[in-house]
């Protein structure tokens, strides 16, 4: 029984870290991994999702719907930004860093000025359960399921829908796709919107468990970039296994030596992976070692 409860606890912690990495990285994997836009405003899409979903939930909308609404609003904001600003910079990757960083600062400070230094949360739903003397949060299991469901949903979108095939074609060889009659500018816009919506979904899902402040996005950004960089360009061959490996490293070290060791372990793992596999896990799996 002791062994089983220990095993459960380790699986739970790894699953929890996995969910956090997958959910915070998915949106970035689409925007940075696929489209190549280094999006430093990723955290602010998460912030947008969290604020919208919390406000909706406090106004009486059921939580699942509020979270979806948060994702949709973040997606629309993403599409708007893509139309207005990002699309002019696709051939200038370094400039996108500066621009998205600027957007991030404007969003954070604007939120502080307009909405104040924090907004009230909704509280975490569902309560707790106990295994072997330890209490666990039920909502954290929901987050793990949501991470898996998000991956499954993305897989369906990119392999089983017309939009997914056109998006992959557009990103791989844009001019051929355009020559074949694909409206590539619309596809770019929708793909960027999808990435922003995924970030918003992450914000909505984590909002009930966190402090809601204008700087909350920064809590996700490092982990998101780390996961995407380790993963490489492909969400399924890269981001998902990267999140699994990093979650294992982080949960193991945190339970052994505390949060600081977990953080250090995460960053050391990244350095090691980039040194050995410059194109991330995707490159390794596709045998594209440089």
């Amino acid at each position: 029984m002791d062994f089983l409860s220990g095993l459960f606890s380790f699986l739970y912690q790894t699953g929890d870290a996995f969910a956090f990495l997958v959910l915070s990285a998915c949106g970035l994997a689409v925007i940075f991994g696929m489209m190549g836009v280094i999006n430093l405003a990723h955290g602010e899409f998460i912030l947008c999702g969290a604020y919208v979903s919390t406000t909706a939930a406090r106004m009486g909308l059921p939580l699942p719907l509020s979270i979806c609404l948060g994702a949709i609003v973040a997606g629309l904001v993403g599409m708007l930004l893509e139309r207005a600003i990002i699309r002019h910079l696709y051939s200038r990757p370094l400039d996108t860093i500066v621009v998205t960083w600027g957007i991030s600062m404007i969003a954070t400070q604007g939120t502080l000025i307009l909405l104040g230094s924090s907004i009230a949360g909704t509280g975490t739903p569902f309560g707790s359960f106990a295994v072997g003397g330890y209490g666990y949060s039920v909502y954290r299991l929901v987050l793990m399921l949501a991470a898996v469901a998000t991956l499954a949903g993305l897989w369906l979108i990119f392999t089983r829908t017309r939009f997914g095939i056109l998006a992959r074609a557009t990103i791989q060889v844009p001019h051929i796709a355009e020559a074949l009659g694909v409206n590539t500018s619309l596809i770019y816009s929708l793909t960027f919107g999808l990435g922003a919506a995924l970030a918003g979904l992450c914000g909505g899902l984590y909002a009930p468990t966190m402090t809601l402040v204008p700087t909350m996005g920064s809590a996700f950004v490092v982990e998101a970039f780390v996961t995407v960089v380790v993963g490489g360009a492909d969400i399924f061959l890269g981001t998902a296994p990267a999140a699994a490996i990093l979650a294992f490293v982080k949960a193991g070290l945190t339970s052994w030596q505390g949060q600081l060791a977990g953080q250090i372990g995460l960053l050391v793992a990244v350095i090691v992976v980039i040194r050995i596999l410059p194109r991330g896990l995707t490159g390794f799996i596709l045998r594209e070692r440089a």
Binding site: Y12, Q13, G121, T124, Y134, Y136, S137, M210, Q263
Partner: protein, 413 residues
């Protein structure tokens, strides 16, 4: 004849110089630099400090200023960034030439700017509770220190809940030194540490920490978490049903977590604070009312806001008694040992040896519905520790920070 003429000229010149000096004294404003985090991770707890300074300044200027001179605020937003503190501290001291600076929330920020204050012989007020130990004549500290917050709180908790203690603390100088204080007090009172964990600033996910705590089965938990990211702990611990009594020197009185989180995630939290807006006495009620008149949208008035407000009045008193803004003259006034005032929290005085402030310490308990009750109040707790370990700023100025394991008394043993 010639000698007499030059003598008269010199006398005239002196007279002229004196009169312009007096003139400058009359009209010229006293410049007060304000370096506080109005954006970034700490903004939530510190915007109120700026408001406190503004409120006191407005009141003092309406009554004719400090010895006839109005206060002029020179405010910069330090953005919760230690480098900004260094940059702006140089700017207010060298370019703006302020008479006094009110600066800083986190201890890391304070230690970042303190060498600059020392270098330019500035005078800085640190209006924040902290881990204690700063023995520096260029600093006046109005915030509460461990002998005021921990020497009261930890023995109370040990008596009430048990002697097995677990600490989680932010991983920088504040958390590390405060945890050392907790460890020492627990040991002195015959208790044991069930565990200790230091959390890097900015961490927001606590699943594993929560489990480590549950595994150690402490009688109560000391939470020294700082910043809005770390505050996510309470929500996550409540949803995992940790259900332990908590003790803290920074929560509630600083980040008003009981107002921001859904009950009962902070229930059974005990905090020692020198003031919060729930304190129930006439002076305090009037203060809150006055505050809301000027800042109707203030979400919460915390202990640091009150510290900042009374610091302006203390500075006024020191300058008026010293007859100038000169630091040596001000220190002579402090050395008299009776720079005191009646604040919303009660009577407070500046201690000459450490230039720290005595406080009324309120034990605030967060109830199930997140209302606050005060099971205990300690009157007039003096900041005695620095004096005990050999800091005496009336005699010498080491410009150092001491800790329980690193101080002149420990070194001489």
């Amino acid at each position: 004849m010639q000698i007499r003429a030059s003598g008269a000229l010199a006398a005239l010149a002196t007279l002229f110089a004196l009169s312009t000096a007096a003139f400058a004294q009359d009209g010229e404003p006293i410049k007060l630099g304000v370096l506080e985090d109005q954006s970034g991770d700490f903004a939530l707890a510190t915007i109120g400090k700026v408001h406190g300074i503004e409120l006191a300044t407005e009141e003092i200027n309406a009554e004719g200023g400090i010895a006839g001179r109005p206060i002029q605020l020179v405010t910069y937003d330090t953005q919760s960034d230690n480098r900004r503190y260094q940059e702006f501290m140089r700017r207010v001291l060298q370019r703006d030439k302020v008479d006094v600076v009110f600066a800083g929330f986190s201890s890391a920020s304070r230690e970042a700017y303190r060498p600059i204050v020392d270098q330019f012989k500035g005078l800085a007020f640190y209006n924040n509770q902290y881990e204690g130990g700063v023995c520096d004549a260029n600093m006046i500290v109005t915030g509460a220190v461990p002998e005021q917050q921990f020497s009261t709180l930890i023995p109370y908790m040990m008596e009430k809940f048990g002697k097995n203690v677990y600490t989680i603390a932010a991983d920088y100088n504040f958390g590390q030194i405060s945890a050392e204080w907790v460890r020492d007090i627990v040991k002195e009172n015959g208790g044991t540490m069930a565990g200790e964990e230091f959390i890097p600033l900015g961490v927001s996910q606590f699943s594993q920490t929560i489990q480590n705590i549950q595994k150690a089965k402490p009688d109560f938990l000391v939470t020294l978490l700082v910043g809005t990211a770390q505050a996510s702990y309470y929500e996550q611990a409540a949803s995992a049903n940790v259900d332990l009594p908590m003790a803290s020197s920074v929560n509630v009185g600083q980040g008003y977590e009981h107002k921001r989180f859904t009950p009962p995630s902070l229930a059974n939290m005990y905090v020692t604070t020198n003031w919060i807006e729930e304190v129930d006495n006439p002076a305090s009620k009037a203060f809150v009312e006055k505050w809301h008149k000027k800042f109707p949208d203030e979400p919460y008035i915390n202990q640091e806001a009150e510290n900042s407000y009374i610091a302006v009045y203390l500075y006024k008193q020191m300058v008026e008694r010293a007859g100038s803004t000169d630091h040596d003259a001000i220190r002579k006034v402090i050395a008299e040992g009776d720079v005191c005032m009646d604040a919303p929290e009660g009577h407070v005085c500046i201690d000459p040896k450490s230039q720290h402030m005595s406080h009324t310490i309120y034990l605030a308990k967060v109830n199930e519905d997140h209302s606050i009750s005060f099971p205990k109040v300690w009157d007039d707790i003096k900041p005695y520790w620095l004096g005990d370990v050999g800091c005496d700023l009336t005699k010498e100025n080491p410009e150092a920070q001491y800790t329980p394991s690193d101080n002149p008394k420990a070194a001489s043993k």
